[in-house]
Amino acid sequence: MTSGTTTIEVHRLSPTASTIAIQGDITSGTEPALMDAYTRASDDMTRSILLDFSGLDYMNSGGIGLLVTLLVRVQRQNQHLLAFGLSEHYRQIFELTRLDDAIGIYETEATALERAIWLDGD
């Protein structure tokens, strides 16, 4: 789905894990596209949602708020939210806003998926 300058794609990694890949900007205006992507990424079997930020161009404070809204929806379904592909700058923003307390950050999709599988075993 495309929203303005943002494209969001969903990939199934396994029966219990999906990736939401973001290309472009995340602002408050991205909410419909991101929430639609989550709906497509999640079903009764899903335990982990991985956010792919490797295509992220720009995120403002509204975009950060959007991630909290997504986190609430994920947690409501007893799922885990993980992130990978963040640049050093946006890793710092996750640290600044303390989003990293709730969203695990990993270097690659593989390491994030490995963690997701481990969490699924809990």
Binding site: D57, N60, S61, V68, L71, H89, L96, R98
Partner: protein
Amino acid sequence: MRTETGQPRGNPPEATSDLPPKASNWATPVARLEVGTLPTSALNLNVAGRRLAGPVQGFGRLWQKTYRVALTDAEVTPEAIIRTWKEHFGDFWPKGNRFYGPLTSLEPGEVAVLNLAMPGKMTLSTGVLVIYADDESFAFMTPEGHQFAAWITFSSYRDDPAPVIQVQALMRASDPLYELSMPIVGHRMEDQFWVATLRALAARFGDNDAKVELQRVCVDRRRQWRYARNIRQNAAIRTTLYRMSHPRAWFRRGGA
């Protein structure tokens, strides 16, 4: 309402070729807040040494509250509105509330001390960090002990034909004591504060009859009990205890 000086901390990164565009719009991470020199009239408590606490770290239900006012007959751009707001932020606050921030415009990384009027003529001392700022918006994050664990975004945009000014808070009450007060006084005080602020800002641009719209959405009804321990940092309790142990402070400008 008077804005007082403070020293910036957590300065934004200098632009380099390794940083993405607009990287300087964000503050850099800070482990603990630092406060610079403040006027003697400021009650400087509950800010220095505190960590930031956003909606993820709060106890109470998660609310998104949006306060919005459209300026009628105002020939002003969103950028001009935000520039004025950043330069004179505390000037638009309701009487009895003080914002001890930078003398110049708000920039990412700056820390401000707040002295907030509470019921019973009490004062709550806490603060905020400017986490983000661009030409059309800026955002604060609250420290541990503040009434809310929150991100608050201040913005302006054009909704043809009128420019619109907006405050949007994504917030949880920080601890169980604050959460108990929300239905009693918390929500009402917060609403009154920002409605009055937006009306004052609208009046600056010639709209003396501005109507502020309020939208309140409960994003998450669940309370985060693992953060009940936040009460140890409760700024209202700590401010009150300080006042009781420092009687001279009762006669400081601003009262109890």
